[in-house]
Symmetry: C2
Subunit: 441 residues, 2 copies
């Protein structure tokens, strides 16, 4: 072993990461189970990709600027790699590689772990899980509606009804048309979207300062502020004149109609300031916030019709969203919507040997139960029955199966229900034939 | 967006990693489900830790030599970090931090993703999943037996019976006693274990060359070879004279007895050459191989009674094992034991609108079914009934629910079983009240 004598302080989780002790892990699994179940019943198939990718996979989409937000490193061949900050570039790479063989629409989901070299703060960690749901290969607004529906169905399922959260929807096509109409050339739109994306995250003064710091004038700031304050879709429609933008209004109305028919229209809200910060969105965009926007966005997504081509794939329209676990779990905790997890994992059966000669039978019993799929435990120590019962209770076992003199002499065992304290005697052979009939599955 | 025009070759998964398309992901989930279910029924609770740790966490256990096998990087504060090559140091850190609050025995499992900067080859990747099962806080051989039992129960469950795989067991205490008896001082034992660990992985000539290259003499080589060739536990017992080693023989026999009682004794085989390569093992060690050892070890583990103290925790005996997915999945594929996954994920219901006016009803139907937990899909395109049936078949849907003129006029819908082609008409309202009664859950 090494002689290095480290300082005690070294043995902590790195900043912005989390240790999941069993009670936390149970909550995370509860979340994963819901993400997965909801995805599947909406017809999405699960995929996964590498934990790290070639660095170029991220710079091609987001430019060199993203490198400072990545954990990057080199392999032995001095190839530049980075831990994934999101899974969409991996998705695009995988789709591009097999585009011809995949029947459309491609409906995929994933729950990747990802890392970003950000400054940790409330709702933002350096390491997180992110549910990703995407529909590729369809231009239909039904695809956008389906993505938003699966997201809202999940929120509804975990108790986040339309009284608690809302999906804020907009279209970059519409805001782009308005900007162009007001004399902002298309090559500057991306930068406008980037600053608009910060509006809900900053105080008014800080927002103004930020906009000016990004190379915009006071005139630009006034225009941006005017757009942000457009109260609803009708007001926006009155302002915008271009034809492509008019089609996009139809798409937004169609989207709202589909969500109504699906039964989740109450979540919908038009917001002129929602444009998303990432460069690759091309049309409808959306974000989920808690009503009152006390927290960061819970989820966000939109159309990205050009991304697959960027990764050398065919032209393939696409829409999708991501939902990280940190903000969501904070909101669920604040609202007391997280499940109780203490003791939920307790075994079905705790086998107790009340007679020294029953130890071997107890081992056989535990072996038999487990191999039949029944969660069973026993004490490692040969100790008094009372202590074994105490351990059964501390492990949150639901049933005790007691092997004692009557087992040895009459082939009988005692089954005690540890919830209500009732007990009964059962024939050993009958029990072993079908233990689930006596202690549940 | 960036102007960078990358070479096409950049858009590939990094060397030694894998893309999990839905059919592969289904297999991975099948594996995870089994790992998790088996762990739980043996009374183990799930935990997880950060994807990366402070680099010191790995060097303290394995020395600076491990750094070349890690993917290491720095955060903004120039702190050295590394993607985890295994989860045991994280486990030790987490246990040490809360040792006083955790009731013993601590029975935990995890299925971490981990990375090693190794040269990729058959059964060895740079990125993998590893099932980890550990019992901490008990010296009892029952803890060792329980770890091995959970491992064997899993193998049995996926079809790997004792005719196909075996668990090879030994004790470092015994080999250490024999080495000391033969004049090899304890400070050199670790290096002997390291070379012995390579025996099954190398051809005889290559093994000899390797031993001599590690600073051992021909006399050492002969001793090592003699030990490796000891055929069974009895022969070993005849050779070893020290008292602590004699106790260890008792422990090994006890272990074999427990495994017999649990019902998995047929997997057990004593092998004098199994010592494990990692420095932290202290007693019983074991590895699982396919009979005939065509592949690398499928799993390996043992006692590591000093590790928690090394991480500034209390004295806490511990035993555990790790099983990676690559070798296991190769063996299962070779033996045709992997499940068929194509189409297994198909939706329960595919909703078809056979009448233009039924589109809205179809949307409502899909919304209702999904929110009741029934997997349902529909076509994005309003197209001929025949094409919709074709899409239902290509999505592997089990039932088609057809909404047509009779739905509009008589509130009737048609349910078609897509497996056997049978169909029936059902009242729309009755169906919506309890759809599961008509199409399954």
């Amino acid at each position: 072993m090494s002689d290095t004598k480290p300082r005690k302080a070294d043995f902590q989780a790195p900043r912005g990461t989390r240790d999941f002790y069993p009670e936390h892990m149970a909550r995370l699994n509860w979340l994963f189970d819901h993400w997965r179940q909801v995805s599947r019943r909406h017809g999405f198939e699960e995929y996964e990709g590498p934990l790290y990718e070639h660095l170029e996979l991220y710079t091609v989409k987001s430019g060199e600027g993203i490198v400072s937000e990545l954990f990057s490193f080199q392999d032995r061949g001095e190839r530049d790699l980075a831990i994934r900050p999101e899974i969409t570039p991996t998705l695009a790479r995988m789709i591009a590689a097999k585009a011809a063989a995949l029947p459309r629409p491609i409906k995929w989901f994933s729950m990747p772990r990802a890392c970003r070299a950000e400054r940790p703060q409330r709702g933002r960690l350096r390491e997180f899980f992110q549910w990703n749901v995407d529909v590729l290969g369809s231009e239909s607004v039904l695809a956008d509606a389906e993505c938003i529906f699966v997201m809202l169905d999940f929120l509804r399922t975990v108790g986040l009804g339309p009284d608690l959260v809302e999906v804020q929807v907009n279209s970059r096509t519409i805001v782009g048309a308005l900007l162009e109409q007001e004399g902002v050339s298309p090559d500057r739109h991306e930068r406008v979207f980037t600053v608009m994306d910060r509006y809900q995250k900053l105080e008014p003064d800080a927002f103004r300062e930020f906009v000016l710091s990004q190379g915009f004038t006071d005139v630009d700031f006034d225009l941006i502020t005017r757009i942000i304050r457009i109260p609803d879709l009708e007001a926006m429609k009155d302002l915008v004149k271009s034809d492509p933008a008019k089609c996009e209004f139809d798409r937004l109305n169609e989207l709202k109609g589909y969500l109504d028919h699906f039964g989740v229209g109450d979540y919908f809200r038009y917001r002129a300031d929602v444009v998303r910060g990432l460069a690759y969105y091309t049309g409808i965009v959306f974000e989920v916030f808690d009503r009152g926007s006390k927290l960061r966005a819970i989820a966000g997504g939109g159309r990205y019709d050009n991304l697959i081509r960027l990764f050398n794939g065919p032209d393939m329209p696409a829409v999708g969203f991501g939902m990280g676990d940190p903000v969501l779990m904070e909101l669920l905790a604040d609202l007391k919507l997280l499940p109780e997890t203490d003791g939920a994992q307790g075994p079905q059966v705790f086998v107790i040997d009340a007679d020294a000669e029953m130890f071997q039978t107890a081992l056989e019993m535990v072996g038999r139960l487990r191999m039949r799929g029944i969660a069973a435990e026993m004490s490692y120590k040969r100790q008094a029955v009372g202590k074994q019962f105490k351990q059964a209770a501390s492990r949150c076992a639901r049933t005790a199966v007691v092997l004692g003199r009557e087992t040895r002499e009459q082939k009988l065992l005692t089954i005690k229900n540890l919830d209500d304290g009732t007990q009964s005697q059962v024939d050993l052979e009958k029990f072993l034939e079908d233990p689930a009939a006596f202690v549940g599955g």
